[in-house]
């Protein structure tokens, strides 16, 4: 007898092949029958003509911390995501010795923009090894996890604090290789790195201190074990990005590994960049390398407030330093006319060097602790004109009057030329990713990039057929990340399944919620058009019932080398 049959659906199996009317039969968490499914079943679900597709796989998340307190990776699961890849950008939460938790925590919170209160309240720190981290999260998993291990963590474990200072010796490189092997054996699907990130003390993350021979040795281990390499390059500069693509291509060819970088995004600041990068990737692909860029579907929106340092202030040192002050000192500074003039002058010279186009005059009042109808939604530049003052004064005055609880929005500051992006997303060389789920939680809500792909680019622009979009979110990701028997609807494959309405699937508006530990606030997006989500054959989410109690997620296995 089958456990579950999903009947009467439009089967879109993840391969990109034409969808067809049919059913899917499931037993013991795996798909056992497709097409016309006969036989008894304990449960029958009538899909009512909805699409039956493999669960979506999100290859770029920072759910490492959230998975400790929320094994369902909300709200990704309700958007149809059944497998998440945490540990990107050189940062995971294991392997990590107890004495380095504060340091790594501060680095992680700075780069991934997570509130300290929630981070500290939510993390139990029951682990040091990678295997023990997975053991800590495994019982609560409602989604599947395909974790990367961060290169910075490997260095910190082997070299201690000197990982932040110097290159590794040959013996230390060998120790890192052994440690990486242990992590891969424990369940990591690969290793992540960074060529750009700086920590909370404005120092390069440990991964950046690695000499080429260290990265090469670690990639040799990835090659032996079948792991992927993910890395963050200088994505805003065409020459630098092409050089990085060349380095990744060399590593890919030399060790037979798959490599991916994130993000690749379009900006009016460098409108030619994506085309140049794709030409370079096309050339390297023709020469036998696997280098897959991850592109997000959504335009870049950012929020900022004055309570904590945020990426928006990365090139505004005065503002950055102000946000770090204790509340009382911060209030004194923000009321001091001379200091305000200095902040205003700094904003006049503002330049964002990573391809984003930010004009603080275009910011708007997005959220307030005590909402003021006369201000909500108003553009800062307009308010400054009305008040006859500098935009910095408007931002500061509104924040001060609201006990610094005001959040300001900056919408569509990059990657917002939808017609152009439609073409890029459809390019066979381009992967869908760079979602950043679990990170930047008070800055933007990435959740629902999957639904947005369908609403904006399948239905809206007709950039690709439904089947291609599903393939890009499922089989393409599983194949590149080497996930064993996931990403397709096939007998023998895991029963990770999403039922959705192809005419309604979408992301909702960005909304604030207070669901982090210690009543922490974050922005999320709800899903629309998702009917049911199954993880390893168990109902995990339904439109009518919300999140289910089942914890059927697991650590997704990697295909052996």
């Amino acid at each position: 007898m089958l456990d579950l049959v999903i009947r009467n659906g439009l089967v879109c199996d993840g391969s990109g092949a034409p969808a067809y009317r049919g059913s899917v039969g499931i037993r013991d968490g795996r798909i056992v029958a497709m097409g016309e499914v006969d036989g008894l079943a304990r449960q029958i679900v009538d899909a009512g003509g909805l699409v039956i597709a493999p669960g979506f796989i999100d290859p770029h998340t920072h759910y490492d911390a959230q998975l400790v307190w929320d094994g369902q990776a909300q709200p990704s699961l309700e958007h149809g995501v059944t497998t998440v890849v945490p540990g990107n950008c050189s940062l995971s939460l294991a392997p990590l010795r107890a004495e380095h938790r504060e340091l790594l925590g501060a680095t992680f919170r700075k780069i991934e923009e997570m509130p300290k209160n929630a981070f500290d309240a939510g993390l139990s720190w029951e682990w040091e090894s990678f295997a023990d981290y997975l053991a800590a999260i495994r019982p609560g998993l409602g989604v599947n996890v395909a974790p990367l291990v961060g290169h910075s963590l490997l260095r910190l474990w082997v070299m201690g604090l000197e990982a932040r200072e110097r290159a590794a010796t040959d013996a230390e490189i060998a120790a890192m290789q052994a440690l990486l092997g242990e992590c891969l054996d424990a369940g990591a699907v690969g290793m992540s790195g960074s060529w750009v990130d700086i920590d909370h003390e404005n120092r390069p993350v440990p991964a950046r201190l690695a000499e080429p021979k260290e990265l090469d040795a670690l990639c040799a281990t990835l090659g032996e074990k079948g792991g992927i390499l993910q890395i963050v390059p200088e994505f805003w500069d065409a020459d630098l990005l092409c050089a990085r693509i060349d380095l990744l291509a060399d590593l890919s060819r030399r060790h037979g590994i798959r490599t991916t970088f994130s993000p690749l995004f379009d900006s009016n600041a460098a409108p030619e960049l994506v085309g140049i990068a794709l030409d370079r990737i096309r050339l390297q692909t023709a020469h036998g390398a696997t280098v897959v860029p991850q592109m997000q579907t959504r335009p870049i929106d950012l929020s900022f407030d004055l309570t904590a340092p945020m990426s928006t202030f990365a090139t505004l040192p005065g503002w950055w330093a102000m946000t770090l002050l204790p509340q009382a000192e911060k209030l004194v500074l923000l009321r001091d006319p001379d200091r305000r003039r200095a902040l205003a002058a700094e904003m006049d010279d503002f330049f964002m060097p990573i391809g984003l186009q930010i004009d603080f005059a275009d910011a708007y009042v997005k959220r307030m602790g005590t909402p003021d109808g006369a201000l909500m939604g108003r553009r800062i530049g307009d308010l400054a004109a009305e008040r006859g003052c500098h935009i910095a004064d408007v931002i500061i005055d509104i924040a001060l009057a609201d006990d610094l609880a005001t959040s300001f929005g900056l919408d569509a500051i990059g990657h917002d030329d939808a017609a152009k992006i439609a073409t890029m997303l459809a390019d066979p060389l381009v992967g869908i990713g760079a979602g950043d789920g679990g990170a930047h939680v008070t800055n933007f809500a990435t959740y629902g990039d999957t639904g947005y792909l369908f609403s904006r680019y399948v239905r809206g622009f007709g950039a690709m057929p439904l089947e291609t979009a599903v393939r890009k979110l499922t089989h393409d990701v599983a194949r590149l990340w080497g996930l064993d028997r996931r990403g397709l609807l096939r007998p023998g494959y895991a029963a990770d399944i999403v039922l959705f309405d192809p005419e309604r699937i979408d992301r909702g508006p960005e909304i604030p919620v207070e669901d982090l530990p210690a009543d922490g606030f974050r922005y999320i997006r709800r899903a629309s058009g998702i009917d049911r989500v199954f993880v390893n054959g168990a109902l995990a989410y339904s439109r009518d019932g919300g999140y289910a109690a089942a914890r059927a997620g697991t650590v997704a296995e990697r295909v052996a080398a």
Partner: protein
């Protein structure tokens, strides 16, 4: 098809502990050091104007000007 395409713009990666004089002496040995440093910095503004003034061994260091600029 050859295994390794020529770079779009030639570059090297610094050695651990490198600074501008050492790099200049190594990659532009025929130029006076000060001239070589000036030349290299003009081709690598991403290292000159970065928020942190350190050169790491994972950095990209271009050893020629941008192709478009060179042809201009």
């Amino acid at each position: 098809m050859s295994a390794t395409p020529a770079p779009a713009r030639r570059f090297v990666q610094p050695e651990s502990g490198d600074d501008w004089p050492r790099i200049a002496a190594r990659v532009l040995p025929d130029l006076p050091v000060e001239t070589a440093i000036e030349q290299l910095k003009s081709w690598n503004l991403h290292l000159v104007f970065r928020p942190i003034s350190v050169i790491t061994p994972s950095d990209i260091l271009f050893v020629e000007p941008p192709r478009a600029a060179a042809g201009a």
